[in-house]
């Protein structure tokens, strides 16, 4: 104990090398290298994410209509007027935004839920080795490998009322209904959207869960089996228990991605989707590019961004609590 005290006192008495020569720091390439290496990343991050985001926020406060698109700086500053229009649920644009929000929330919960369920089920089945496992894994990943547009256009053909494969199957093969239903207009359009989104999303969930499950030691399952746990109990207490951190990140990512889904409704239905499939980002697109009111579109985008930040923040709080309790 006393030795330590003496050493500390001696150290305190010694002059500090770095604070010498009038506080000047000597430049060395060794010290600068980490900063130089990170400069490109910072520059591109600013260029690709931060600057457009700041410009978007600025746009939401100006009246950026067709009359000013070639000279944004002349667009009048209108404070929160664009936000007032977007949040005034008595006018059609605000009402449309509110309806889109509710619809997008339902679409997201369904798509993420089903994608996760499919991904988890397939991972559990394919976790154990059997003949043909590699083939099935490859097969399941195909939707993720196909370019989104090509996949969605194929679905658009499948969903055609008169010539589509789905109605051919339902009407002429299974004889479920005599009158061919619409899948691209009316209320069914929502379900078409969910089906295509799940088809695209679930391979990612499958991939992430598969990767996570590789890290669960086989001994834990053996030990659980010896303790008398049946298959369901092994899944419930071993697999799901240990997969909690992976699932937490996966569900957050899927939620954020799905909530701002644009490709699927746009390619399936065009610029004017049926009301049942008018997702939030398509509404924002319509305000900007169809109504030519980029200020209003930007205000809606800012609201969407704030909502997603809120979701991420709540997730972070929940995740911290789960980790603390664990």
């Amino acid at each position: 104990m006393s030795n330590t005290t003496l050493e500390n006192s001696a150290t305190a008495m010694m002059p500090r090398r770095r604070s010498g020569s009038g506080g000047k720091r000597r430049f060395t390439w060794g010290k600068a290298t980490p900063y130089l290496l990170i400069i490109p990343a910072i520059l591109f991050e600013l260029l690709i994410h931060v600057v457009p985001m700041v410009v978007g926020v600025w746009m939401s406060f100006i009246q950026l209509t067709q009359f000013y698109i070639t000279n944004w700086l002349e667009a009048p500053f209108i404070g929160f007027d664009n936000f007032k229009v977007a949040l005034d649920f008595t006018n059609p644009l605000g009402q449309q935004l509110a309806e889109s929000f509710g619809l997008t929330f339902a679409f997201t919960v369904l798509t993420v839920g089903v994608s996760w369920l499919f991904g988890m089920s397939a991972s559990i089945v394919l976790h154990r080795s059997f003949r043909g496992r590699g083939l099935l894994r490859t097969l399941f990943l195909i939707p993720y490998a196909i370019p989104a547009y090509a996949g969605i256009i194929t679905w658009k053909f499948i969903f055609q009322r008169d010539t589509g494969l789905l109605n051919e199957f339902l009407v002429n093969v299974l004889h479920v209904t005599g009158d061919a239903p619409f899948w691209l207009i009316g209320d069914n359009a929502f379900w078409s959207l969910v089906i295509v989104a799940v088809w695209q999303q679930w391979p990612f969930a499958f991939l992430m869960i598969m990767a996570g499950m590789q890290s669960i030691p086989e001994e834990l399952f053996e030990a659980a089996a010896i303790d008398g746990a049946n298959d369901w109990q092994q899944i419930r207490y071993v697999t799901l228990g240990l997969m909690k951190p992976v699932n937490a990140v996966l569900l957050l990512l899927l939620f954020l991605w799905t909530f701002r889904e644009f490709n699927t409704p746009f390619v399936l239905f065009g610029a004017r989707p049926p009301d049942s499939a008018n997702l939030l980002v398509v509404t924002i697109y319509q305000s900007s590019f169809i109504q030519w009111n980029f200020g209003l579109g930007a205000a809606m985008s800012v609201l969407l961004m704030l909502f997603l930040i809120l979701v991420a923040a709540l997730w972070a709080l929940w995740n911290r609590r789960v980790r603390r309790d664990a």
């Binding site: 130089l36 490109p40 067709q66 009359f67 698109i69 619409f182 065009g270 004017r272 319509q286």
Partner: protein
């Protein structure tokens, strides 16, 4: 240490290089090389609209003319054909960013809206004289360039009007005459419709927003109304505008002479293909469809054309003057060469060649519509519709918003009608009210 320094330096240099590549770099016009060809060596970028039966068909038609232009002037034109569905977005993006082609085609219904953006070169004074002046165009075509008293930013290239195409064989078989009133059209359509056999009285791209707006505009004018007041203010919630929607919608909703699947048709191509298939009696479409019908195997000898009929006692409006105009972006660094190009494209010789290839009507005076030279009856009919039945589109800045809100609303109502909902006048009025409110807040 040295390696680390080099690596860091290299990444910074790469980033700087990449960033500099992102910055706009306009190539200045080269020095003139020949007194007769003062802009030789200039390269123009040109976005053409999809007028032909496919994007490749457009390239096949346009490229020989662009080569001819290069031979004459030494100016090279790099062509890109843009589908109609992307044209507004691409044009807007170019206008906003100042990065894009020198010359672009636009749909003439957007002429006034795009004029107000300030992104295009106004054709006035010397610039208008450089392309041969306004006098070389028919007055009706010139009216599509924008409101009177405002320097136009687009010049007529291809003119079109709506007509009612009817299948000669089906009409003959049923002993029908081409309709001259809306009531006759409905009666003929009813006679021809046999849903179980897949035969329908009429086809329309009912899920297509711009066509919905076109038809609503024509029908509202037949009823003696207009979507805009004389001052150019939107005035959608009127009986005439309700009638304009109802007349179109009822073909599917009440008369049931249109296949409900048409509500899924988000572009004209599907309706054209259906009509060419030989099991559809009538099709309201623009002049240029002659080209697309031929590509789908239907020759002009197999159909007739009459003006889109109006209900008895209504105004005889059968179309508005539609078509494609050509514009020069204000940011173009090659203004003189671009003016040369517009002059070339609207010269009598090229106007004849291009309008013949596209099955459209030349907007240039005294140029014959040779697309129909083998079919004089068709040529006379299109000329008659243009002269006696066509009105100008409203030249107001909010036409694009009208298209989005009313056209989009009509498409939505078709969706409801197709899926079995009954559409009342109150529903139509509610849609128009909502569209009007969007114009006010949008």
């Amino acid at each position: 240490m040295k390696i680390r320094f080099l690596a860091a330096g290299a990444t910074v240099a790469a980033a700087a290089l990449a960033l500099s590549a992102c910055s706009p770099g306009a190539e200045p016009a080269p020095t003139p090389t020949d007194a007769d060809k003062p802009y030789a060596g200039t390269v123009l970028q040109y976005w053409a609209t999809n007028q032909g039966s496919s994007l490749d068909n457009d390239v096949e038609i346009l490229q020989p003319e662009l080569d001819k232009f290069e031979e004459l002037t030494g100016i090279k034109v790099e062509l890109e054909v843009i589908p109609w569905s992307d044209m507004t977005n691409n044009t807007l993006a170019a206008a906003v960013s100042g990065q894009g082609p020198d010359v672009v085609n636009i749909g003439n219904t957007n002429a006034t809206t795009l004029n107000t953006t300030g992104a295009f070169l106004p054709f006035a004074g010397e610039d208008l004289a450089a392309i041969g002046g306004a006098e070389k165009f028919y007055e009706s075509a010139w009216e599509t360039t924008g409101p009177a008293g405002v320097d136009p930013t687009s010049i007529p290239l291809y003119s079109q009007v709506y007509g009612l195409f009817y299948n000669l064989a089906l009409f003959e078989e049923a002993g029908l005459e081409p309709p001259t009133t809306w009531e006759e059209l409905l009666a003929a359509a009813e006679e021809l419709t046999d849903a179980d056999a897949g035969t329908w009285g009429i086809v329309a791209p009912a899920g297509t927003v711009n066509v919905a707006m076109h038809i609503q505009y024509i029908f509202a004018n037949q009823a003696g109304g207009s979507p805009f007041t004389a001052d150019g203010e939107p005035d959608f919630v009127t009986d005439e505008n309700v009638e304009g929607v109802r007349q179109y919608l009822d073909l599917m909703a009440t008369q049931k002479v249109m296949n409900p699947s048409n509500a899924q048709y988000t572009d004209g191509g599907q309706a054209t293909a259906d009509f060419a298939g030989g099991k559809i009696g009538m099709y309201m479409a623009q002049t240029g469809n002659v080209n697309a019908l031929r590509a789908n195997g239907m020759e002009p000898t197999e159909y007739g054309v009459v003006p889109v009929p109006a209900p008895r006692g209504s105004d005889q409006v059968g179309s508005f003057i539609a078509g494609t105009n050509i514009s020069i972006f204000e940011f173009s660094k090659n203004k003189e060469a671009a003016l040369e190009f517009v002059k070339f494209m609207t010269s009598p010789e090229e106007s004849e060649i291009l309008n013949k290839a596209y099955g459209t009507l030349p907007p240039v005076r005294d140029v014959p519509a040779t697309a129909f030279e083998a079919y004089p009856e068709l040529m006379d009919m299109w000329t008659e519709i243009l002269a006696d039945y066509a009105i100008p589109m409203a030249q107001v800045p909010t036409v694009s918003a009208y298209q989005a809100n009313v056209g989009g609303g009509v498409v939505g109502l078709f969706g409801n009608a197709a899926t079995g909902s009954t559409i009342t006048d109150d529903d139509i009025r509610a849609m128009l009210t909502e569209a009007q409110q969007k114009m006010a807040t949008g």
